[in-house]
Amino acid sequence: MSQETDILEEVTSGEYKYGWVSDIEQEIIPIGLNEDVVRLISAKKNEPEFMLEWRLKAFRQWEKMKEPTWANVHYPPVDFQSISYYAAPKKKKELQSLDEVDPELLRTFDRLGISLDEQKRLSGVAVDAVIDSVSVATTFRHKLAELGVIFCSMSEALQEHPELVRKYLGSVVPAADNYYAALNSAVFSDGSFCYIPKGVRCPMELSTYFRINAANTGQFERTLIVAEEGSYVSYLEGCTAPMRDENQLHAAVVEILALDNAEVKYSTVQNWYPGDKNGKGGIYNFVTKRGLCAGRKSKISWTQVETGSAITWKYPSVVLKGDNSVGEFYSVAVTNNFQQADTGTKMMHIGKNTRSLIVSKGISAGKSQNSYRGLVRINKTAKNARNFSQCDSLLLGDKCGAHTFPYLEISQKDSVVEHEATTSKIGEDILFYCNQRGLDTEEAVSLIVNGFSREVLNQLPMEFAVEAQKLLAISLEGSVG
């Protein structure tokens, strides 16, 4: 038995691959947070007046709020005054095209495996790249504009489409929704904005890559997706950060609004720096993601592959308001070494005949703790609502933990709610079986983990499924140079 644990320990102690720091000229404001900082951020971004008011209101509410403590994660208190709330690559002038972007920056994205140039030319994926706090490049914008699709950074949206931002910002996640959301509302520096007009099926994947580069900064991006009647969009975000000994805070907000018959697929491959083998450093990932199925027969689907971060606190939810609307949540969360993840979803059924599906796969290795926390609420108005939840945990070794916290709040008796949960271990017998067929243990673990996560990986767009599959293997293996 101990031998088995040794083997697993060996193969599960891989190194983080994206931990380098780019040497980019940056502008960073002094650490600390007060009203003046909020004003400064807004001024730097040359924002319309309403935006500053919105931020200040959020900030004042945040000051009165308390950090939540109910999650199954443990960390020393965050000192919000020791963080810088704005860092941006220095721009000499307004950029006209990608060719004018700092070459070091382009190299950064190359090393991340996201060549903005290549992406632009070869694949049908539009990319918005956000480094530290600011969007540095959005590709394919003009092609999308021909269809009326707006895909740009939040800062640009505030300049070019202030009326749209004003109308929808905070409509799904109110400014002071929770502690981290309120903080984000006050200080968010950028993010992506995406608007799909009535009846348009967005012909390409929209994708944003977030990268934290600067030290002692927090990243607070805010993403807003609006899908008008009968429209469709598939959106993907990816994230990485350098290895640093101190913890860094990431508190993002994502809002999705789907009107009648609209469908939004949102996929995340989250690979923030998880800290080292001894639990030093890593990103605190405190994120609020919510979708509102406002229209009839609308559908919002969250898919997440969570491999990074020291601490993850994240519950992508769907409010099923429109009749016959559908919410889905597919998640793979991997924790290794000393990582802690408390993640899951909330499905709030309000409309009639609303349906939700939850598929959660938790994989724990090392000394990590992995919790699924999910709420299914069926309101009185949600006649004939249905939910099915499947929560599976896979343990590698015997020093890690898997926990499941399903909450049900049901006020409508003709609803059907089902929950299934399993916990399994990669045992010595399975490893031996694989070894006997010629697979070494690393390969066996990777094969088993990918098999375990299959249902979720299948939800990802093809090109990202392959990436995610590799990422899962890397997060669990010692094969990274």
Binding site: I430, F432, C434, G438, L439, E443, N450, G451
Partner: protein, 254 residues
């Protein structure tokens, strides 16, 4: 091809194999019979390189090299195959996918490139018909929800695909219906050649009517206590293991 000399093996400090000697030449089929708990599966596991079995004494040589030096996956790549008595289930991984990974590992070891998708498909078709396995079955998650007999048939299918030099079949016949037994045995016979050899562990003489062995051995109490030709199996079926035991004590007293 394979020489086992004075093999002693224990698990968790309990000695299970207490001095096994066995030599298997290329092209031969050996059968091992013996009472429950006598150490047959233990011998199979030790040959395949399971780590929680400690070899305390003796040696195993495979094609001139010290097998005990090699990890389980290295032995597999060298051409050793074990059809498990209790095959495991791997959710989300199809037999096809699993075999492709395994086959490519073996090829890599031999310095060959990964198999081309079309060649692989062709090879699968051919081996599928050899063991008459349904395509639907091998597209499903490996062994998940398979019936006992389906799992056994899948083991033989994997063997056919990986083309080992030396294969151990641990009670592959138990759980098979009469037709399946005939098909599986037929598959093994078609794979038999002058270059590869088999060690067939079974409780039933019936299997040995289909897969006719060159030698039959009786393993009892961790030792091979009797060896003979294929007729030994018949004799055993008739007289039971007590017969071997009494014969042994008689020998010892004489």
């Amino acid at each position: 091809m394979l020489q086992i000399k004075n093999l002693h093996a224990s698990v968790d400090g309990n000695e299970i194999l207490k001095g096994v000697d066995l030599e298997i030449k290329a092209g031969e089929v050996h059968a091992i019979m013996g009472p429950n708990g006598s150490g047959k599966s233990t011998l199979a596991s030790v040959l395949a390189g399971r780590e929680d079995y400690d070899v305390t004494e003796g040696s195993i040589t495979f094609e001139g090299q010290d097998l005990l030096e090699l990890a389980a996956e290295e032995r597999a790549r060298e051409g050793i195959f074990l059809a498990f008595q209790y095959p495991v289930e791997i959710p989300g991984v199809s037999t096809v996918n699993f075999l492709k990974t395994a086959l490519n590992e073996i090829r890599k070891h031999r310095g060959q490139d990964s198999i081309d998708a079309i060649d692989f498909l062709q090879m699968m078709r051919q081996k599928m018909s050899l063991v008459e396995i349904d395509e639907k079955l091998i597209k499903r998650s490996l062994n998940e929800g398979f019936s006992g007999g389906e799992k056994k048939r899948n083991e033989i299918f994997q063997m056919a695909m990986l083309e080992p030099k030396f294969a151990v079949l641990d009670e592959t016949d138990s759980g098979l219906d009469i037709d399946a037994l005939r098909i599986v045995a037929g598959g093994v016979n078609k794979l038999r050649s002058l270059n590869n050899s088999f060690l067939v562990i079974t409780h039933y003489q019936r299997l040995l009517e289909y897969i006719v062995p060159d030698y039959v051995h009786v393993l009892s109490g961790g030792k091979i206590v009797k060896s003979g030709g294929k007729d030994l199996a018949l004799e055993l079926e008739e007289k039971g293991y007590d017969w071997v035991r009494t014969e042994l004590t008689a020998d010892a007293e004489a």
